[in-house]
């Protein structure tokens, strides 16, 4: 049985290894990464445009996900650089409680083969904001001014309420007396502030909403919040490969001011301008660089996303079917192997999809390949289980008859057992495919594209139209898959199994 279980695992690992061999760690272009939020994407566009203007071949792998994902991708050589914040580097990447100076950070990063630029010019840290009108009325300029007004109502994002450097320590450091303090959703906090429901909230220093809601950002006069200076992280092997890249990138050090960043965030989030356009305008105004901000039409985008989504689903499902049906047969034949196979495929199912995608990065990098591998692993269980059940549910008298009429083992499988189990096997494939179409939208988190890309961007920009451009076709594709398999049922399930008893 060990041998059998091993075959299954080797097959799964084999797909992974074959896939990883086909993706060279260093491509011929500079790959700029960005996280899945507006400021990061805009910065990514700016650097892509800047490097491109200097005649370097670049690719922007945009809105990939969170810190851990980008950092892993950078270490794996899947991207060459991405914008990051010094506070995040210290607390999340290096996992240090105390603050480091920039030089200390540089030394630590160099040990991992990563370099850090100087500050790009703005510090996107936590800040406390009040409405401009209230600030004028009470003469609020800095956070310590709040101590004199104990009746102010404070509403903070839930994250800020919990963080060690959030409300608990802010309150201690500034001796804030307010007792009316609530946790609420970040977006709701802005609206509550605008409508007068609360008097102050936490925000990020470059939030577009500062402009939109006319907020006053209070100065952190006791330096409570750690610095979150925007910097570029890059692989130290970028220099030997593209000698000019670092020098070109450095041209933006200290060039992006806080108001400029707020403007750009507002242009994207509030005025719905594409990041590429906003970035191009910034480059032209600050460095006199002309870059083309190419714009895709909606129809073209949906078409591209459809092609990407179909290839994610198609390839992962084809591989899953090819492996799962034999695994299901194996499971049905050998009790111990059966439990092992069902157990292992079951475990894949319990790994949260985001975690599985992150596990894939060291193995397969980012992009289409790891997404296909993750989808493939998710699609195994329903097919394996249904193949197993379909075969096990065959009546013993039928199974025994197949033996008794003298068919050898292989012939019994192809002529009797698989046809009888076909309905169950197809039902498993159908379930798998429908789930796969939905799960594939998460592939966008690691740069695999597909409908998830539109949904992700739509959520980030609060653009319902864009979300629907991803969600509706994704639902339609699931329905189409369902319909396709209804037809496949008619062709592939033998007629004798589809008839209800119609006695002559």
């Amino acid at each position: 049985m060990n041998r059998i279980a091993a075959i299954g695992l080797v097959a799964i690992a084999g797909v992974g290894i074959a896939a990883s061999l086909s993706s060279p760690p260093h491509a011929a272009e500079i790959r700029v990464g960005s996280k899945a939020f507006t400021e990061s994407v805009t910065l990514g566009e700016i650097f892509t445009g800047l490097l491109g203007d200097s005649g370097l071949k670049t690719e922007h792998r945009r809105e990939l996900g969170g810190t851990r994902l980008l950092w892993d991708a950078l270490l794996a050589g899947e991207i060459d650089m991405y914008p990051e914040y010094t506070g995040t580097i210290t607390h999340e990447i290096l996992a240090q409680a105390q603050s480091y100076s920039d030089d200390e950070i540089r030394k630590k990063l160099a040990q991992r083969g990563v370099g850090m630029s100087r500050s790009l010019g703005f510090n996107n840290t936590y800040a406390i904001g009040v409405s401009a009108e209230l600030a004028r009325r009470l003469g609020l300029e800095k956070i310590s001014d709040l101590a004199a007004h104990p009746s102010l109502r404070l509403g903070f994002s839930n994250e800020f309420m919990d963080r060690a450097d959030g409300w608990p320590s802010l309150c201690r450091v500034y001796h804030l007396p307010q007792t009316n303090v609530r946790g609420l959703d970040h977006d709701l906090a802005y609206r509550a502030l605008a409508s007068g429901g609360i008097d102050a909230t936490d925000l990020y220093s470059t939030d577009a909403e500062i402009r939109y809601y006319h907020l006053k950002v209070l100065r952190d006069d006791l330096n409570h919040f750690p610095r979150y200076d925007a910097v570029m992280l890059y692989r130290l092997d970028l220099e030997p490969r593209f000698p000019r890249a670092i020098e070109v990138m450095r041209r933006l050090e200290g060039k992006i001011s806080t108001p400029a960043m707020i403007d750009m965030n507002a242009a994207v989030k509030l005025n719905k301008q594409p990041e590429s356009q906003v970035a191009a305008r910034f480059l032209q105004e600050s460095l006199g660089i002309h870059s083309d901000a190419s714009n895709e039409t909606s129809a073209k985008r949906v078409w591209r996303l459809t092609a990407e989504h179909l290839s994610l689903v198609g390839i992962s499902m084809a591989a899953a079917i090819v492996l799962s049906v034999p695994l299901g047969i194996l499971a049905a034949r050998h009790a111990v192997a059966g439990q092992t196979i069902l157990g292992i495929t079951g475990i894949f199912q319990t790994i949260p999809s985001l975690a599985l995608l992150v596990f894939m990065i060291p193995l397969l990098g980012i992009g289409t390949l790891p997404a296909i591998a993750a989808l493939f692993l998710y699609s195994l269980l329903p097919i394996v289980r249904n193949t197993y059940t379909g075969l096990r549910d065959i009546a013993p008298s039928v199974r025994e008859s197949a033996v008794a009429i003298g068919l050898p083992r292989g012939a019994r499988l192809y002529l009797v057992e698989l046809p009888i189990a076909s309905r169950s096997i197809l039902a498993g494939i159908k379930t798998s495919t429908v789930i796969n179409v939905g799960t594939a939208t998460l592939g966008a988190l690691i740069g695999a594209g597909g409908y998830g890309q539109a949904i992700l961007t739509g959520i980030r920009l609060d653009d319902m139209g864009l979300i629907l451009q991803g969600a509706v076709p994704s639902a339609l594709m699931a329905l189409a898959a369902q319909g396709f398999f209804e037809i496949a049922d008619r062709v592939l399930i033998p007629k004798g199994l589809r008839l209800k008893g119609e006695m002559p």
Binding site: K495, G496, L497, P504
Partner: protein, 249 residues
């Protein structure tokens, strides 16, 4: 032709067969009979090589029959199971001819054999294109019988072939089975728990109890010269007006 030599078989702590030996007479119908749980079906399945015995052996035409070795012998052995065991995804004709097609028989040869068998078993030719769900219980057993006879086996083994049928159809099929057995003059081994059916169809009856053979003989011998009390009890318990008539006939 078919010999059973001191075969034993246990399922867990239960002894299903205990040192059973039996010689099946060629070209006759032997019926294994006894109360449920006496081991008659187990014996039949071991004879067919569907089940391995714990000790002892079964020989068919001189070769040992076990689940591992039975494969080449199976074309010479026909088998019918209680509920027919028909393949639900195949038509009656495809069920009957599956092995023949697998062995590469030509179409005309298959067609010819199907016609022979459907007239022998009195199964309507137009029913051959129906699927099992479209057939009645009696028709299904006829198809199952045709399937077991397709390759013209030397021996036919039937496990309660009429057990699931209602009395009218059962009676009709008993008559047909007797005709078929007598026409073909094949070696037949059949399992039943019904004494009337046994005496009507069988030339030799093998009465079993708790994994052992109690008595072997014709139905008249079992009735008139029971070797122990149990034989008389078993025979009398199942006596019915119909049974009397049939035995008398």
């Amino acid at each position: 032709m078919l010999e059973v030599k001191s075969v034993s078989k246990s399922f867990g702590a239960t002894k299903a067969l205990d040192q059973v030996s039996l010689d099946i007479a060629p070209e006759q119908t032997t019926v294994l009979i006894g109360p449920s749980g006496c081991g008659k079906s187990t014996l039949l399945r071991i004879m067919m090589g569907l089940l391995a015995s714990d000790s002892g052996e079964v020989r068919f035409l001189g070769a040992a029959v076990t689940p591992q070795t039975a494969q080449p012998l199976r074309p010479k052995m026909g088998y019918v199971i209680q509920d027919g065991g028909l393949f639900p995804h195949l038509t009656a004709a495809a069920n009957v001819s599956l092995t023949a097609r697998y062995l590469g028989w030509e179409k005309p040869r298959i067609r010819e054999r199907l016609e022979e068998l459907s007239s022998l078993t009195r199964f309507p030719m137009d029913g051959l294109d129906r699927y099992p769900v479209q057939l009645s219980g009696g028709q299904r057993q006829r198809v199952s019988l045709m399937r077991s006879l397709m390759l013209d086996p030397k021996v036919l083994l039937l496990d309660e072939p009429l057990g699931a049928l209602d009395p009218m159809i059962r009676h009709e099929l008993q008559r047909d089975l007797r005709n078929i057995f007598r026409t073909l003059a094949k070696t037949v081994v059949m399992v039943t728990h019904d004494m009337c059916e046994a005496s009507y169809l069988g030339q030799q009856l093998v009465l079993m109890r708790e994994g052992r053979i109690v008595q072997i003989g014709t139905s008249v011998q079992l009735m008139n010269q029971p070797v122990e009390r149990f034989v008389a009890d078993f025979v009398n318990a199942q006596k019915s007006p119909l049974g009397d008539q049939e035995v008398a006939a």
